[in-house]
């Protein structure tokens, strides 16, 4: 589904990611793990087209180098960004509508919104409230739902557990696990390595802009020393 080769990401003169190779197969959930400043969010930004990058990013075999941000979303990438970035001045429902704004089947958008309100009754209760009034966990659910409103082929999740209470983190991972079971292709960026690997098929450990290790969840999870050294989370 997604193939990344020799990706370098730049923030002005600074190179944040130094040539990584990464791939996500159709229906897979792949975890991209690493500490703060490892280059995880830079990688996500490059995939979306909002960071300056070199190397190859291919979606379903087609190079995205010359594709605009909007067209990348149109081709099936969706992102729940770091910090969630809910439109706090708009209602919960309006957030979802914007998420489905590019769909051609406008009639089904409202039905999908209702479906999300059934899945997360708390969002349904607050459909008319400004998104900014939701709690962190609710905002995260909304951010993921907003991303899925575009009916993507691949979902990029950037630190969905960041800043949430452990009980809420468990709910978020439960949701991701359900999505995976439904066949969604997911690239999951996390610091919370152990929990992320539990729901992933494959993982990459990123540190200082380089891939330090990769392997199946079992392989990575088994090598506790390396995990501890790299992420401090064992």
């Amino acid at each position: 589904m997604l193939d990344i080769q020799n990706l370098r990401v730049f923030h002005g003169p600074i190179e944040a990611v130094h040539g990584i190779f990464l791939s996500v197969g159709t229906g897979q959930c792949v975890a991209l793990l690493g500490p703060n400043g490892a280059g995880k969010t830079s990688t996500i930004s490059a995939i979306c087209g909002i960071a300056q990058a070199s190397g190859t990013i291919a979606l379903e075999g087609a190079d995205l180098a010359k594709v605009t941000v909007e067209d990348r979303i149109g081709r099936g990438i969706a992102v729940s960004p770091e910090g969630r970035r809910i439109f706090s001045n708009l209602s919960v429902e309006a957030n979802l509508r914007i998420g489905g704004g590019i769909r051609a089947d406008r009639d089904n958008v409202q039905a999908d919104i209702e479906r999300w309100f059934d899945t997360f009754p708390i969002l349904g209760e607050r459909r008319a409230q400004p998104g900014g009034t939701l709690s962190g966990g609710e905002q995260q659910m909304l951010a993921i739902a907003r991303a899925l409103m575009s009916k993507p082929k691949i979902l990029l999740l950037d630190e969905p557990s960041l800043g949430l209470a452990p009980r809420i983190v468990a709910q978020v991972f439960q949701m991701i696990s359900t999505l995976r079971a439904e066949g969604m292709t997911i690239l999951l960026v996390e610091q919370n390595a152990r929990q992320a690997l539990q729901i992933s098929d494959y993982g990459y450990l990123l540190n200082n802009g380089r891939i330090q290790a990769e392997g199946t969840a079992d392989e990575l999870g088994g090598s506790k020393d390396m995990m501890a050294k790299l992420t401090g989370l064992g």
Partner: protein, 298 residues
């Protein structure tokens, strides 16, 4: 009593005009953080279009009005495409200087290719006829102005609340990049903001022309200044703020005209800006400044 009623209506109609002008600035600012000082020249384009239509095409005022509004809308969209799109993601100062540049270029085009002198258009005078309402004599123009502004505000509110693109424009005022990350085209949102701004400029142009009856190269300066002041008072980037600021400015101006003794009449603007300054001491960001926070960012 009649006098008071008349002055209140004066204040409302001035306020309505300023609100239209201020909304034109605010809608572009809210989306791209650009104070479009070329807005006044867009209004002037409307005035010159009226001249051209009246001289070359028809005396039918309806066609002249439609032509002028279409011209301002097209001009506004064209300016976005040619001048503002290349500096869209640049520093805000760059955008501001670009707007000044566009304004100066357009003014000089008017000077060089049209005329430095005012050109009269009399086709719209009929809008400004005295009418009696409940024993109070007012101008029909004031009624048109107030009604148009109310209709525009209702239309804008419906558009911004009901349509996906309208919602996206509101979202863009908070986090433009995130709007792009939902796949909604930045070009479309920007073009739409300028289109709406241009339509508002056209409507304002009709009323200014009906009152003044002539257009000159510096036609747009005063309106854009009023719009700017209204936006600053109301809170830059807030659309309700622009409307509130417009009506407040209209009210303060009329109040000064009425309350100041004859011999201080020349100091009207000084008093108006003095009051505006006091408002800004009370609310430095404007009365309804928009919230700046971006959700639950960590």
């Amino acid at each position: 009593m009649d006098y008071a009623a008349q002055q209140i209506i004066n204040a409302l109609s001035f306020g309505a005009e300023y609100a239209l002008l201020a909304l034109g600035l605010a809608i572009v600012f809210s989306v791209m953080g650009l104070v479009n000082f070329a807005h006044g020249e867009v209004i002037a384009v409307g005035g010159y279009t009226m001249v051209a239509f009246a001289a070359l095409v028809t005396a039918n005022p309806l066609i002249i009005i439609v032509g002028a509004v279409a011209a301002t809308a097209l001009t506004s969209v064209a300016l976005e495409r040619v001048a503002f799109r290349p500096v869209r993601y640049a520093d805000p100062t760059t955008g501001l200087l670009t707007a000044f540049g566009v304004s100066i270029v357009l003014q000089n085009l008017f000077l060089l290719f049209i005329s430095p002198r005012p050109i009269a258009v009399t086709s719209l005078y009929f809008l400004d006829a005295p009418v009696m309402v409940f024993g109070v004599q007012i101008s029909s123009l004031q009624i048109f102005e107030s009604v148009t502004t109310v209709v525009v505000i209702i239309g804008l509110v419906l558009f911004l609340q009901r349509t996906t693109l309208g919602l996206a424009m509101r979202a863009a005022s908070l986090d433009f990049e995130m709007v792009r990350l939902t796949g909604i085209r930045a070009n479309r949102v920007f073009a739409l903001a300028f289109l709406i701004s241009g339509l508002l400029a056209g409507l304002a142009c009709i009323f200014i022309m009906a009152r003044r009856g002539s257009v000159d190269p510096h036609f747009g300066f005063n309106p854009v200044l009023k719009a700017f002041v209204a936006c600053v008072v109301g809170g830059f980037g807030s659309l309700p703020g622009a409307v509130l600021g417009g009506f407040l400015l209209g009210a303060v101006e009329v109040a000064m005209l009425v309350l100041l003794p004859q011999e201080y009449g020349g100091l009207k603007d000084a008093f108006v800006f003095g009051i505006i300054a006091l408002v800004l001491v009370w609310r430095p960001d404007g009365i309804l400044s928009p919230a700046k926070e971006k959700g639950d960012k960590l």
